[in-house]
């Protein structure tokens, strides 16, 4: 039994086949029953009519011999077995005496016949030792049952007729069964093939090949499943690629400072350095690169924390203008150093519910970028409220970002100019971290830019409603 039920296809096949067979058997018996019923009723009616016509020959009184002869003659010509009986013994006339004799008609039948009603018989008759269908017509002389005309057909004859029908039925049923089982098998195969394909595809995916695509175009549940499967595998593929890129990026980003540190430390150890000044210079460089690595690892740690959904913000009501102002304070020397101008217009009434350190980190990351890519001109910061949101626009007049890169700029380690190294000191994670943090504050971060004109980073955060 397990052999039969260990696959869905077999189960479905079994179900379909069983349904077909049950339908055929059921319809066979039903139609046979109807056929027989209609046929039997028809025959019964004709027997009754025949018997009643014959009974018209009886003129009353004791049964005359010529009537017997007529009936005998008729019997010899008719397919129906017909006989006439006048023996009172056969007609159960002695019944109250309980005679040990199997009479042709019983007590109830005699009563019916005495009332002038014909009696119908269907089934086994001991007298004839076979199954019959018969009709008994009373020959009444007033209230005397002078005799009966018994007409019957052996049921075997009837089943002979139904036999032809049964053969036809059997052949038709066989053909129907074969055709429908073949069709059913095909249907089951068609239904289960996508599932098998999916199983193979899933095995393929589990072995690390994410490039599978199921070519199933049906719109039913299986089609939907296949579609979901395709979507899933392509998502896995994308994620896999991103992970690979990420690893490549991380190792690439680390390699530069590490080679610096290794090179300068080698130089220091091999006593190649002549002067103290040069040695200090080398040490400074090693220190700078170590710092960069520290920042990079710190950012990576932040990012992984942010992505793992374990990150907890310590939210509190913050006067945003104050916070931005404090953050900008640190940048003023650098801005002056680069010869840039700083403008800001901050709405002092805006209060948000946020994590002070994180919001400051966001501002710093964006300011770092602006400062890094702006050589001349100005950096302006605006804070204002539109409806329930406060908007922070940090606008610079830097090199800008080409349009085709705008969509990807927030990705980790994404660089507009692939050839550029990180000599500028950025980790390539700042915007990614900023966006994550803004999202944790139920906010939004948008980058708008035009090449050689400047970049605007717009942060929208929900304002804390002060009742």
């Amino acid at each position: 039994m397990r052999f039969l039920t260990n696959s869905l296809a077999k189960k479905m096949w079994l179900t379909v086949t069983a349904a077909i067979l049950i339908t055929i058997l059921y319809s066979y018996f039903l139609s046979y029953l109807f056929y027989e019923k209609i046929y039997v009723e028809n025959v019964e009616e004709s027997l009754l009519a025949e018997g009643e016509r014959l009974a018209l020959e009886y003129q009353g009184g004791p049964l005359a011999d010529d009537l017997r002869e007529k009936i005998d003659w008729y019997n010899s010509k008719s397919e129906t077995e017909i006989f006439i009986v006048s023996n009172p013994r056969e007609l159960s006339a002695c019944l109250p005496f309980e005679i040990d004799y199997q009479t042709l008609i019983g007590k109830e039948e005699r009563e019916e016949l005495l009332k002038g009603n014909a009696v119908q018989k269907l089934g086994y008759e001991e007298r004839f030792d076979r199954k019959i269908m018969g009709v008994i017509i009373p020959l009444l002389d007033e209230n005397r049952l002078q005799g009966i005309i018994y007409l019957y057909l052996p049921l075997a004859k009837i089943s002979e007729i139904t036999q032809g029908f049964a053969y036809l039925w059997f052949i038709a049923a066989m053909i129907f069964t074969v055709v429908s089982i073949v069709l059913g098998t095909m249907l089951v195969k068609k239904l289960t093939k996508p599932l098998l394909d999916m199983k193979d595809a899933a095995e393929h995916v589990s072995q690390g090949h994410y490039d599978v695509h199921l070519a199933i175009d049906s719109k039913d549940e299986i089609g939907q499943l296949a579609h979901a499967f395709n979507h899933m595998s392509s998502s896995i593929q994308k994620e896999d690629e991103r992970k690979r890129d990420f690893l490549a990026n991380v190792s690439h980003e680390l390699r530069t400072p590490i080679s610096y540190v290794k090179g300068y430390s080698d130089a220091l150890m091999s006593d190649m350095v002549q002067s103290d000044e040069e040695r200090n210079n080398y040490l400074r460089l090693i220190h700078r690169e170590a710092g960069r690595m520290e920042r990079l690892v710190g950012d990576l740690l932040d990012l992984s924390k942010l992505e793992s959904n374990e990150y907890k913000l310590e939210k509190m009501p913050l006067p945003l203008a104050q916070l931005i102002e404090d953050a900008l304070e640190k940048y003023k020397p650098f801005i002056q150093e680069k010869g840039l101008e700083l403008h800001y217009a901050l709405d002092p009434d805006i209060i948000i519910n946020g994590d002070e350190g994180r919001i400051e980190q966001v501002i710093q990351n964006i300011m770092d970028n602006s400062l890094r890519y702006t050589e001349k001109g100005e950096i302006s910061i605006r804070l204002y409220q539109i409806k329930e949101k406060c908007w922070i626009d940090i606008e610079d007049t830097g090199i800008g970002i080409p349009e085709e890169h705008l969509n990807n700029i927030k990705q980790r380690f994404y660089r507009v100019n692939k050839g550029r190294t990180r000599s500028d000191g950025g980790t390539g994670l700042g915007l990614a971290i900023s966006e994550k943090l803004v999202k944790l504050h139920q906010g939004e971060l948008i980058v708008l830019s035009e090449v050689n004109k400047g970049t605007t980073v717009r942060i929208m955060l929900p304002v804390l409603e002060m009742d």
């Binding site: 005496f97 005679i99 004799y101």
Partner: protein
């Protein structure tokens, strides 16, 4: 408080008590003579007033009685039936059950003996003839052949002849000693008999065996059991009565009534009723009950002319008489 309800209480008690008693049947006055038919198809008893030649009363019975006999007090009627555990005694005048005889099932025939001191009942379950006194006390059982049915009493010889229905045997019982004294071989399916005490002739009819229909009356010597002759009386002669040196024979297979001289010559015949089983003489008339026609025909025994036909219940199988005291 009780005063208020005593009347209703009385009614209630009356209803309760009356529901315990047997159903009352219409009373049959003491002074009428009747022929009563026990109708087995609809379980009724029809009383035909012989003087008025009309149906007097009909009793609806609760049990399938197949026969009856009237006890010497002319009021008690004993009903028996093959399937019944008891034979039940009814008072005609009161129209209610007055007692039961513990007979057990199988009683198919009964006869009040000529000396009017006892009753012989034919028991097909035990295959015995059972003698009871008229108080219902069983006196003796005598072994009979299987399926005893017809019994015939010889007043002169004080003998009881018992015909076995399917064993081709006739048993002779001495009524004084109540012992079986003789046994003769008869023809198959014998039923109905008449004893000619003068000539010691025993006329026995029958239904016939198997598909064969009995066409003749078999005349046996009542002393020796020898078959003396047969008299044709088609078909199925099963009832005999004698009056004025003529024997009236009823053949139910052909619905014929024959009037035959004691010598065996046919005097007259008539086709009558439908499937008649029972016949009786009363008030100088001949009564024939048609089992299928559900009627009683009254005939003039002289010329067998039908005087009247009276409808009775369905399936009159047994007829008992109560005639005026002479």
């Amino acid at each position: 408080m009780f005063k208020k309800y005593w009347f209703f209480g009385l009614i209630l008690i009356t209803i309760l008590l009356s529901s315990c008693t047997e159903k009352r049947q219409p009373s049959i006055p003491e002074d009428i003579s009747f022929a009563a038919t026990v109708n087995i198809k609809d379980m009724t008893v029809s009383f035909v007033d012989l003087k008025k030649m009309a149906l007097a009363e009909e009793w609806k019975m609760e049990k399938p009685y197949t026969g009856a006999l009237i006890l010497p007090d002319r009021d008690a009627i004993l009903f028996y039936g093959n399937q019944l555990e008891t034979a039940d005694l009814y008072s005609l005048k009161e129209g209610k059950k007055i007692g039961s005889w513990e007979t057990g099932t199988g009683i198919v025939n009964g006869k009040l003996l000529a000396d009017k001191t006892g009753v012989a009942l034919v028991d097909q379950d035990l295959n015995k003839i059972r003698f009871f006194n008229i108080e219902g006390k069983e006196l003796k059982q005598i072994e009979a052949e299987s399926n005893p049915l017809t019994i015939l009493e010889s007043r002169k010889a004080k003998k009881l002849f018992v015909l076995s229905f399917n064993h081709e045997k006739l048993a002779v019982i001495d009524l004084q000693t109540k012992e079986k004294t003789d046994e003769f071989i008869t023809h198959p399916s014998a039923a109905g008999a008449w004893l000619n005490e003068e000539s010691n002739e025993l006329w026995i009819g029958g239904h016939g065996e198997g598909i064969e229909i009995e066409q003749d009356i078999h005349v046996y010597d009542s002393e020796t059991g020898d078959l003396k002759k047969t008299i044709p009386a088609p078909s199925m002669p099963i009832n005999f009565l004698e009056k004025d040196n003529h024997v009236y024979v009823l053949s139910h297979g052909s619905n014929m009534l024959y009037k035959i001289k004691e010598s065996g010559e046919l005097a007259a015949s008539v086709s009558i009723a439908a499937n008649p089983f029972e016949m009786a003489f009363a008030e100088g008339k001949l009564l024939v009950a048609g089992y299928d026609s559900n009627d009683v025909h009254i005939l003039d025994p002289e010329n067998l002319k039908s005087l009247k036909t009276i409808k009775v219940g369905e399936g009159p199988f047994k007829m008992v008489l109560r005639e005026r005291m002479k």
